[in-house]
Amino acid sequence: MPVNCNPPVNYREALPEGYPASESADTSAGLVAFRLVTSLPPTVGDFDSQRRLHPGRHFRGISECQACGVSVFTKVEDCRMAGKLPALRGKQVCRVRLMAGAGRIQQTGKPSHHTWWPLADFDILGQCEQEAA
């Protein structure tokens, strides 16, 4: 049966009703994810979704829920690969520990690319550390 993951759980950003979808997974099992951030240590703004950064944009071709999540990789090499692109150049690789209370995550696209929907109460910055070059 589909799980309605939204209410009563509070996500960091408002999500469409019924999202994240049942295909997403809880982070309780624990995993390490990698994200490109502007500087280390990161700021909470480094974990803003595209929807928060660009409220007026149309995100056709992906669901609104995807636009409200943040991209992370589960393989550090993939994150470093993304950092070669001009729009992401200069960003640093940040390692984030995801555990119970971190929210939900779903593999989207490339095997290591995931969309993460953090919970409002999750201390993101407390779980971040610099990834060794």
Binding site: Y19, L36, R57, F59, G61, C65, Q66, L85, A87, K110
Partner: protein, 381 residues
């Protein structure tokens, strides 16, 4: 003035970073996000020959090399959101791209390991979900040939299974999740290689392009089909699964098995999306089809589904037991069975809820389906 339209996303991170675009005469362009700070994202576009773009999709050439190779002939800048509706007006740039800060660093490739399997390679090359199906009817035993009816029937049965598997997969999603999906034509596949070398093989791809994350809606359907072909050597296990999956998908599967048995052929398939590490493969040996048919044929109404219709009664032929209901989704008509409910008490124009058994009937051996509704209960609303 030159312009290009969005074709597909090749790399996604917080939005499309590397995209493919086409101009109005079918020319291929690679688009690279270079500025995401403004009101609209800014892209660099470079025209590339299709074969070099294919090399990039396969991971055998890096992005910087591709851009440097072809930007000498001209490159462009344009702003606009990467959506299927966007038309980027290309503004030619006079300085060399190599003199800007907009080139990626060396070594950016889409796949860091080569695809060993043909279906995966084809999927990456096309940046789409690809399915490769092989059958072995007797006429293909000694040479590369297949009867027209066998090929046509095979393709029809496959498309029917995809349709019902997609429908079954959607029913597992919440209503809200379903509403967010663009389901138009999502179950359709196109033949891209009608007669590949080897045993008789056909290669198909999703008719609809994947979303910006590179995911095809058809994946949902093929994952269910994988389940059905998982234990073909074990009729009891397959029967247990089909009892759970009872409905049109189970009916389509049974019809496919009957088709294969009638044409004395097994079936092998492999499918992949560009980002899969390996293709998904399943095999049904010719000898496995009949025991599966025997097991599944023993279940009554395996291929029927119960559906509920609501609307105004437009016709009730009490003598023949046929009826017509005007619902919000259109006109539905059907019949009653001899042991089913009577139409006697129903009033034309009255609003009713009809609980019906929906049965799919295949035109003998063709894979073509007709739908039949049997009224099993009615309620006034």
């Amino acid at each position: 003035m030159k312009f290009v339209r969005y074709h597909s996303t090749l790399f996604f991170y917080d939005g499309p970073q590397v995209i493919e675009a086409r101009d109005n005469i079918g020319g291929h362009y690679i688009g690279l996000l270079v500025d995401d700070g403004g009101e609209l994202p800014g892209f660099v576009f470079v025209g590339t020959p299709p074969e070099r773009l294919r090399d990039f999709r396969l991971g055998s050439v890096d992005l910087r090399t591709l851009l440097v190779e072809h930007s000498a002939e001209g490159w462009f800048f344009s702003s606009g959101e990467a959506t299927p509706e966007t038309r980027w007006i290309l503004v030619p740039q006079s300085i060399a791209l190599t003199e800007t800060r907009w080139l990626p660093e060396p070594g950016f490739v889409l796949h860091d390991s080569p695809a060993e399997e043909e279906s995966l390679r084809e999927s990456r090359a096309r940046n789409n979900l690809v399915l490769e199906v092989a059958v072995e009817p007797p006429e293909a035993a000694t040479e590369h040939r297949i009867r027209i009816g066998t090929l046509a029937g095979l393709l029809m049965h496959l498309q029917t299974m995809f349709k019902h598997a997609y429908g079954a997969a959607l029913r597992e999603l919440s209503i809200d999740a379903r509403k967010q999906l663009d389901r138009t034509d999502a179950h359709l596949m196109d033949v891209i290689i009608p007669a590949a070398p080897g045993s008789f093989r056909v290669v198909l791809e999703a008719a609809k392009r994947p979303d910006m994350l590179g995911q095809s809606e058809l994946t949902r359907a093929l994952q269910l089909i994988d389940e059905m072909f998982e234990k073909t050597a074990d009729p009891a296990a397959t029967l247990a699964l089909m009892r759970q999956r009872k409905g049109h998908l189970a009916g389509a599967y049974l019809r496919m098995l009957r088709f294969l048995a009638a044409h004395r052929s097994g079936l092998r398939y492999a499918w992949a999306e560009p980002n899969f590490p390996t293709a998904h493969r399943r095999t049904l040996a010719e000898r496995e089809a009949q025991p599966l048919i025997d097991a599944l044929s023993g279940v009554a109404n395996l291929g029927t589904e119960t559906i509920i219709l609501e609307g105004a009664l437009d016709k009730a032929d009490r003598k023949n037991g046929s009826w017509r209901l005007l619902t919000n989704d259109g006109t539905e008509s059907g019949d009653t069975k001899s042991d089913g409910p009577s139409l006697e008490s129903l009033r034309i124009g009255g609003n009713y809820r009809f609980i019906c058994q929906e049965e799919i009937i295949e035109a003998e051996g063709s894979g073509r389906e007709t739908r039949k509704l049997w009224l099993i209960e009615h309620q006034q609303i």
